[in-house]
Amino acid sequence: MSAPGRAGHSPEMVEYSGAMNLDETELTLGLPGGESRGKSGTKRGFPDTIDLSIGAKRRSLTGGGEAAKDPDIAVAERREDEVSGTISSKPPATKTQVVGWPPVRSFRKNVMTKSCKFVKVAVDGAPYLRKVDLEMYSSYQQLLAALEGMFSCFTIRKYLKERKLMDPANGGEYVPTYEDKDGDWMLVGDVPWKMFVESCKRLRLMKGSEAVGLAPRASASTCTSSSS
């Protein structure tokens, strides 16, 4: 069966990104008439694949028939140089996840996302602690909303970038901070959410005035002592 689409592809690495705007420029190794086989997968089994055509110049349908029968390693050597020459670096991070890859059974994936990450939440001036499960949330926005719900005296300031909580009762601002794996106190919100969940050991809503000493991405010695 002839497959004009197959031969003569350029050896550049091609990628199905799933993004609409790249469909037109997409080169694939699909068979003729194979349109964008990249419909996004329904629940089961549509693999969005990356077709890597290393050294495709020398590729043909019969797959190198002249050397087919000979398993001698030396024959393959000739090709290896071409191969090394065209290896590209790791594909850009925007690539889509592929169905069934890596080959980990679903119960392993599910289990990970269902794991709990309980951390204690302290509020300056409040007599008792609370606990939140960071795995329940997927963004800072959600976390702060939950904290607002817990300590019902607070409202989140509208300017989310500043990520402060207001106590209308005493007009004070509370700055969410957390203790990370290294024991340092950091401002909530600087690092990507996932990284935060990984490294956060406990939370503290610090009175605004005390938080002045904390700088974003401060690495050492930013402690809870107030500084002005």
């Binding site: 086989r37 629940k43 594909p91 069934g100 080959p103 119960f107």
Partner: protein, 602 residues
């Protein structure tokens, strides 16, 4: 061949007929030929390995018949390779059956739903043919509640049910088994999905003492009636293996352990306090419970682990042969105090959260290690990679007796793989999963050809290989040339051309199971394996470069091969001839008739 006449029974014309003869009740003066058969029956009782039995059955018709009469365990590697009635016709005295259904790639959502592998036809046929059936082992099959009911009703002395990676039934089906099978010794639901129908199956076991020796339900995602479970454990004095699901909290685990100190295998469930209990959780002396289990050799679970409680297992570490921490997100500091006490450990499953440092600790502490599996905490291609070639190298240096390894990582080098091939000559299973597709050697940027080549060259006992990373046809040349004992080969995103697959099909004479995905192998490569496909259990090729035409040629050339083309949702109507999935296997009974729309059989 002459047949002895049983009094009153007409001489059957078919020499292949079976006599349900009891070996012990011998006719006073047996026909001379029968003497040989009787002797043979006694001798063949000692043959248990199925390959030996298969070989014996080929000697001559008499041996074939006698072997068939004395085979008590039947293994069906592919449920569609043979019909149930053919099995029951040949082997009339079977006590134990093992059947495998779907191919392994079905575990990763590569197979359309409802593809098949139904247990129904088997239980229906066996129910009539094998009233004395005691054991059923199923892997990747689909069962219904009704099938389980029928099983319980059909087999009076049923003893052992093992379901691995199965699905299709719910707690109602389990209740049927619990209530109907009064002789039940083993109920093993490893990795099996059970639908939560709300039936309290644990309460359905009969009252009074049970024969239970093994109760394994660690991945059954349904809440269970704990009081009933506690009572069941208390009245099962023979219970040796107990693996709990994650609904069981640490406190509940304690209560079960004190009732079953005789356990040898324990799956600890959550290994953390239940959410309901909160801060007022009763603090048991967990370490004492573990101390009391003097026979414990296999420990798993830790599904929702609170690492502070890990020291409770210290008392059993010295005797542990198998430890599964693959659900425990622990770091190297939490692993070290445990692993350094596990001097006898032979099997270890961990998460990559322990990092290369953790693997170095394992290498230092466990010289007897035979099997290691390192699973990814974050199974994504571009995630952080806490383990690498460093961990693999360390393991190879510290664990020379290693036989089986499964290693997920984000980066690897040929050097480390080559080192393992030399340091661990006893390797039988080598499965490396570099999670980034087409990833070359991290340091040299070369393909991983040399590493995998070294594995097949140096590990002379290798029977199972799974590859990953950037691989050219050269890697397959190595595999074809040196992988003479390889029976299972798993390939993903690898190779350059048809030549790669040709090397494998022409070189690997013992290849039984070949699963390939997303690799540039086409019709020419497929056709180069015609000489071998009847010797294989199956071939799976998905998202490769196959066409219907090529597959049809194979189907024509090999009439006893069932050639299935599976299409993914939305693709059924594509006429361009491209093939999503090719799944083909030999069969004595022709194509099956229980296919869904997404399946075409050529």
């Amino acid at each position: 061949m002459s047949e002895d006449d049983e009094p009153g029974r007409p001489q059957p014309p078919d020499p292949g007929s079976k006599k349900t003869r009891n070996c012990a009740a011998v006719h006073p003066s047996p026909h001379p030929d029968r003497v040989l058969e009787i002797v043979l029956e006694h001798v063949l009782q000692f043959l248990t390995a199925r390959r030996d039995r298969n070989a014996a059955s080929l000697v001559c018709k008499s041996w074939y018949r006698t072997e068939a009469l004395t085979r008590s365990h039947v293994f069906i590697g592919n449920c569609y390779s043979v019909s149930p009635s053919r099995v029951t016709a040949r082997f009339p005295r079977v006590r134990s059956v093992a059947i495998k259904g779907r191919p392994r790639f079905a575990d990763f959502n590569l197979m359309p739903l409802n593809w098949g592998a139904h247990f129904g036809p088997w239980v229906a046929t066996m129910g009539k043919a094998y009233p004395w059936l005691e054991r059923v082992y199923l892997k990747r099959m689909s069962l219904t509640d009704r099938d389980l009911c029928l099983l319980g009703d059909s087999f009076v002395g049923f003893k052992e049910l093992e379901l691995v990676c199965c699905d299709g039934f719910g707690t109602g089906g389990l209740a049927a088994i619990a209530s109907k099978c009064s002789q039940l010794r083993v109920l093993d639901l490893s990795d099996t999905e059970v639908m939560n129908d709300g039936v309290d199956w644990i309460s359905c076991f009969p009252e009074g003492e049970t024969c239970l020796e093994s109760l394994i339900f660690d991945y059954v995602e349904c809440p269970i009636n704990f009081e009933a479970l506690e009572s069941l454990v208390a009245r099962s004095p023979a219970l040796k293996k107990l693996r709990l699901n994650r609904e069981v909290s640490l406190g509940q685990l304690y209560r079960l352990m004190v009732r079953a100190p005789q356990l040898t295998h324990l799956g600890t469930g959550a290994f953390g306090p239940s959410e309901a209990q909160g801060a007022s959780d009763q603090e048991y002396d967990y370490a004492s419970a573990f101390s009391a289990c003097k026979s414990l050799v296999c420990l798993s679970g830790f599904r929702e682990i609170v690492p502070e409680y890990l020291p409770a297992i210290y008392p059993v570490c010295a005797n542990l042969v198998s430890l599964n921490l693959s659900h425990a997100n622990i770091n190297v500091e939490q692993l070290k105090p445990i692993i350094c006490q596990c001097r006898k450990l032979q099997v270890l499953w961990v998460l990559d959260s322990v990092c290369d440092e953790g693997l170095k600790a394992v290498a230092a502490a466990c010289p007897d290690l035979r099997e290691l599996r390192v699973f990814p905490f974050d199974p994504q291609e571009d995630a952080e990679g806490p383990v690498s070639e460093v961990g693999l190298q360390a393991i190879s240096e510290g664990c020379p007796k290693l036989e089986s390894i499964l290693y997920f990582c984000q980066r690897m080098t040929n050097a480390a793989v080559i080192a393992m091939s030399k340091n661990c000559p006893d390797l039988v299973v080598f499965r490396l999963c570099i999670m980034g597709r087409h990833q070359p050697d991290y340091v040299t940027r070369e393909p991983m050809d040399e590493g995998f080549g070294a594995i097949v060259m140096n590990c002379k006992k290798l029977t199972r290989l799974a590859t990953s990373g950037l691989m050219t046809d050269r890697a397959f040349a190595y595999i074809g040339k040196y992988g003479k004992l390889v029976r299972t080969l798993s390939v993903a995103f690898a190779g350059d051309s048809d030549t790669g697959l040709k090397y494998v099909l022409e070189g690997c004479h013992n290849l039984q199971k070949l699963e390939i995905r997303d690799s540039p192998f086409g019709d020419a490569a497929l056709l180069s394996g015609l000489h071998h496909y009847y010797n294989m259990r199956f071939l799976w090729m998905s998202s490769c470069h196959l066409s219907r035409q090529g597959c049809r040629e194979v189907a024509r050339a090999l009439p006893r091969l069932v050639v299935e083309l599976l299409s993914y949702e939305g693709n059924e109507k594509m006429d361009d001839g491209a093939v999503d999935v090719l799944y083909m296997y030999r069969s004595l009974d022709g194509p099956r008739n229980d296919t869904s729309e997404s399946v075409t059989i050529l």
